[in-house]
């Protein structure tokens, strides 16, 4: 680790101000950032902790019936408190291990947009809205590629708003070493259609499988996916699985998610 200063603002406004300092970077749960700092792969001069900002924490429901989760809410809190959205609570409950869940946050996860992270699938699959300190961004416009998002320099994720589907399920096949998803699929059925989001597979990060969505919107059953497949060409290929294998798993996980949801 290189040396850095730490700021501990207690409001979003103060956090934004602190992020105006040169080479400042927000830190939420630190579960991604601290290992990066330890490996000396990042060298911020100021870390702005989002840990002590009460308005960024907690799970509640708004008037529209959406579940609203503060950007600094831990995975463990979501697992315990997002009772109105069981599929999302279950996704949070299966991230990493207890230590990770007690520190890591939804804001950190969606800001980081790791191509194998769980939350991006839940957020995109739900058609959620990412709320920042100065705007609201629809999930469809937010995830731009591997580790890339629509966030601007110094912009922080303060909340994520999830509409609650009729049924939903998150199915994940684990990468054996990291226990991140090798491929995971989030399926959500709303009154006006089905959304299917896939993480772990694509070189461009989380994506929607529109062909599957169309098939499922007409017939929400696993058999509706028979015959559908994705190409492995632009999929991640590594020690743990080829692109072809990942493409195959997309189909298997999607079917299992639908079967579990229906």
């Amino acid at each position: 680790m290189y040396n850095f200063d730490v700021e501990m603002p207690t409001s979003i406004a103060d956090a934004v101000k602190a992020l105006g300092r040169e080479e400042a970077q927000p830190m939420s749960g630190g579960q991604t950032l601290i290992p990066t700092l330890k490996a000396r792969l990042a060298a911020p001069s100021v870390l702005v902790s989002l840990h002590s900002i009460p308005e960024m924490k907690g799970v509640c429901k708004n008037d529209a019936g959406d579940i609203c989760i503060g950007g600094a809410t831990t995975h463990a809190t979501v697992a315990a408190e997002a009772v109105d959205y069981p599929a999302l609570a279950s996704l949070a409950a299966r991230i990493g291990d207890p230590a990770v869940r007690n520190r890591g946050t939804i804001g950190g996860s969606v800001a980081n947009n790791d191509p194998s992270a769980c939350y991006p699938a839940g957020v995109l699959g739900s058609g959620a809205t990412i709320v920042t300190n100065n705007r609201e961004i629809a999930a469809d416009d937010y995830f731009l590629g591997m580790f890339e998002t629509a966030l601007e320099e110094g912009e922080i994720v303060t909340e994520v708003k999830f509409p609650i589907p009729e049924v939903a399920h998150y199915e994940k096949h684990l990468q054996p070493a990291s226990r991140f998803p090798l491929v995971a699929v989030f399926v959500a059925k709303f009154a006006d259609g089905v959304r299917v989001a896939i993480t772990g597979a694509s070189e461009n990060g989380v994506f929607r499988w529109t062909e599957a969505e169309n098939a499922l919107s007409g017939n929400f059953s696993a058999s509706a996916l028979d015959g559908l497949s994705l190409s492995g060409d632009k999929m991640i290929s590594d020690l743990h699985g080829s692109g072809k294998y990942r493409a195959h798993l997309c189909g298997v996980m999607a079917k299992r998610a639908v079967a579990a949801a229906s």
Binding site: A177, L239, Y245, H248
Partner: protein, 787 residues
């Protein structure tokens, strides 16, 4: 009735109290006043010419004490190799120089190039970043078969090739073996890879060097399985420090698994630098460094063939193995694929003719050496996969084929130089069949199939050799060390004992089980016996702990020393009892004159030894302290039979282990609970190798699995509840306790059962692929199912 103390009792592990309450004293807990910290700048490329190491910008940086480079170690010895193998032509192996810090060339990712000693670790790292390296990249050799081809880039320019040795065993039998294959009714052939592993002990390596200017004494605190061996190797061969000026302490060690046997450059560095810098120097490996600097394990590529006659009797076996040495010869590396591997190729079977060829190869990878099992897992895996394959080719039951070829009479001299003293392979297989509930398998398979899963059953046998010995034989085989063990037993005046053993405990529970033995021999409570180990200053010269040798060899030395104590104490007692020595016997902590009620307590005798007022001073010396060295006449040969049941998801390729049964014969058992625990740990590592663990390099020699993000360790949820039994006991005939060794069996015996079970599951799904390499990852299974 199970015993509640002494030999045979499941006494609770006394050391666990401190381990589990955070009171252990590990090397990283040791801090010497005024110590500095070292950070090693390591190569991030696999192969290159090191043109220059420019430290000028780093030298003056804040906190820097001194920066060392390879040039500083030119006059220092090479990190030695402890075993010299002679090849099939009678030539000794090629043995490259192994510098403390790279000089002239870098040969693997992770090789230390420079060492920065500074006030703090972060300052040392800052300065290391300011060191400028001028390296010309060279093509790396990673694949062993490519490495031995004509014209391949050479890892060591001064060697004739990348071939360390080409070993034939037993060379004189080769023609007869080949002839038997000519006449065979059936030949089964198998090509396989025994995957490279990283040991990953929970505690990474740590070394603290200290130097006392006033006396000229060096001290090295290090995470070692054998402090005396480190003292000898480092003192005599690397740094030229005589043993009496060098103390090596290996305090609590958080797991070794083989990788902490070896003498590493970092140990020599801190010892050397402490004197140069005139202050203690500490190094604590990060987990990332551990991946690229701890010796790796396994990494064999093998072709093996079995010849059978028309009645399915094994008539001959031959193997052709490439064994990766990595870039340098680690301490015992040459012995692992030869004397710890070739000698085990008979397994549990009476195959009359065997020939083993091993080519040891240098590559631009981390050195490879012994890892839990060391050579025996590689032997067992190929043999037990091969026998299973033969059974399927011949359409005979794999258990029946094994039973038919079992060795039935002991002692049994194998065609690969060793003689098994005892064993009962039928008994362990009978026990296993009962444990594995083979009759219920059909129903369990149907239940799995109803869920859309496949289910497979696999078995294997194993034989292994523990307590490598005797010294005069291993010396002929190339060992540059003895393989005895030592013990000093000191009885204190009030009757308590301090047992100073040359064995080292790094998780095995010696502090408990060794005390059980001594307490049992004397008939006193276990808590009157203290086990001391791990410090060259207060233990006799001993060879340490590896190869499941501690109880069989170290325990035997302890028994011999305790027998000497008892003999002397009996003399003192007979004097006190005014009886003749032959009439006095020790029982339950008291000396009694046979047939009378005259007795004297243990504590009165020990007090007399140190307060010799009423004492036969003209006949015997006062005091009660004895030392014994024990050099075994043979290895011990634990054996057993294992069964694994897996469920396989044909859609994802995911394999889960549903049942695992292990029937072992470890001879006599001192502490059944500890033995069970040792088997459990071994099984976790064996199943881990079979399903998860894989140390992978790319063709440039970059380590792909360099962290837990990519190196899959087995976790509790990957493992079933094991069914473990060690009631089949054929005691070892040549050591006083009749014990064998149990530390490695689980890791040796389990991989073939797992892979055999996976292949059985795949066959039940209509796919007979013949073989699948470890780790049997979901991806590999899916590819095989869809090939």
């Amino acid at each position: 009735m199970p015993k509640d103390h002494g030999i045979g009792a499941s006494s609770k592990r006394r050391e666990d109290v401190r381990f589990l309450t955070g009171e252990g004293n590990y090397t990283d807990d040791i801090n010497v006043n005024g110590q500095a910290y070292v950070y090693f700048l390591r190569s991030d490329i696999a192969h290159g010419t090191l043109n220059s190491v420019d430290t000028s910008a780093a030298d003056g940086m804040e906190g820097v004490v001194k920066i060392f480079t390879g040039a500083d170690f030119e006059a220092v010895g090479s990190v030695p190799c402890g075993w010299q193998v002679t090849d099939k032509h009678g030539e000794v192996m090629q043995e490259p120089r192994h510098p403390v810090l790279a000089h002239g060339k870098v040969r693997h990712v992770g090789e230390p190039i420079a060492a920065v000693v500074a006030e703090t670790l972060e300052q040392a790292r800052d300065a290391a970043e300011a060191i400028v390296l001028d390296i010309t990249h060279l093509p790396a050799v990673v694949d062993m078969k490519e490495a031995v081809k004509e014209g391949a880039p050479k890892v060591h320019d001064d060697l004739t090739s990348n071939l360390c040795y080409d070993w034939g065993f037993v060379e004189e039998n080769k023609a007869a073996v080949d002839a038997a294959f000519e006449e065979a009714h059936h030949v089964t052939t198998l090509e396989l890879v025994n995957n490279r592993l990283v040991a990953n002990p929970m505690e990474p390596r740590v070394a603290v060097g200290d130097f006392a200017r006033g006396t000229g004494d060096h001290t090295l605190y290090t995470t070692s399985q054998n402090p005396h061996v480190i003292r000898l190797l480092m003192g005599a061969f690397v740094l030229g420090i005589p043993e009496h000026k060098l103390r090596v302490v290996a305090p609590d060690v958080g797991g070794g698994f083989g990788t902490k046997i070896f003498h590493y450059q970092e140990e020599a560095f801190v010892t050397y630098a402490a004197k140069v810098c005139n202050r203690a120097v500490k190094w604590t490996s990060s987990r990332s460094e551990a991946f690229m600097s701890d010796a790796h394990g396994r990494d064999h590529v093998t072709k093996i063939q079995l010849a059978l006659d028309k009645d399915n009797n094994f008539t001959a076996l031959r193997t052709d193995t490439y064994a990766n040495m990595g870039a340098y010869l680690s301490t015992f590396a040459p012995s692992v694929p030869t004397w710890l591997h070739g000698t085990l190729m008979a397994g549990n079977y009476k195959t009359p003719l065997i020939y083993v060829n091993v080519k040891a190869v240098f590559t631009n990878t981390v050195p490879v050496d012994a890892y839990r099992g060391a050579g025996r897992p590689e032997a067992t895996y190929q043999l037990e996969r091969l026998v299973d394959k033969a059974a399927h080719e011949l359409k005979v039951d794999p258990i029946k084929l094994r039973r038919q070829n079992f060795i039935m009479e002991f002692p049994y001299a194998t065609p690969v130089a060793v003689e098994y003293d005892t064993g009962d392979y039928v008994a362990t297989m009978d026990k296993l069949e009962e444990m594995a509930d083979i009759a219920g398998f059909k129903k369990r398979r149907e239940d799995s199939e109803a869920k859309g899963k496949l289910r497979g059953f696999g078995v294997n046998c194993y034989i292994e050799a523990c307590g490598i010995a005797p010294s005069n034989l291993v010396g002929q085989l190339g060992a540059r060390a003895g393989l005895f063990e030592s013990c000093t037993v000191r009885v204190n005046a009030t009757g308590g004992l301090v047992v100073m053993t040359g064995s080292h405990s790094h998780g095995q529970g010696h502090e408990t089980s060794f005390a059980q033995v001594v307490a049992d021999m004397i008939g006193i409570p276990e808590d009157m016996v203290e086990i001391v180990h791990g410090d060259t200053a207060n233990t006799p010269m001993g060879m340490g702990t590896y190869g499941s040798r501690s109880l069989a060899v170290g325990g035997s030395a302890m028994v011999k020393a305790t027998e000497k104590i008892i003999a002397k104490a009996t003399k003192i007692a007979s004097h006190l009892l005014e009886a003749s020595e032959g009439d006095v016997e020790l029982k339950d902590g008291a000396f009694t004159v046979a047939g009378t009620d005259k007795s004297v307590a243990w504590g009165d005798v020990t007090l007399a030894a140190y307060v010799p007022h009423n004492y036969p001073l003209e006949e015997i010396e006062p005091g009660l302290e004895e030392t014994a060295f024990y050099d075994p006449s043979n290895f011990t040969y634990p054996s057993g039979a294992y069964a694994c049941e897996v469920e396989l998801d044909p859609e994802t390729g995911q394999v889960t282990v549903e049942r695992f049964s292990a029937a072992d014969d470890f001879g006599n058992i001192v502490n059944p609970m500890i033995v069970t625990g040792q088997v459990h740990g071994g099984l976790a590592q064996g199943i881990g190798q079979a399903l998860l663990e894989n140390c992978a390099y790319d063709s440039d020699g970059q380590l792909l699995s360099a962290s837990y993000m990519d190196y899959a360790m087995p976790r509790a949820s990957d493992l079933p509840f094991y069914d473990v039994d060690h009631s089949c006991q054929t005691p070892c005939t040549h050591n006083p306790l009749g014990v064998k060794g149990c530390g490695e069996a689980g890791a040796i015996g389990s991989p073939p059962a797992v892979v055999n079970a996976v292949l059985d599951a795949m066959r039940s799904g209509g796919k007979d692929v013949g073989h699948i390499d470890m780790p049997v990852s979901p991806h590999r299974v899916w590819e095989a199912m869809n090939s």
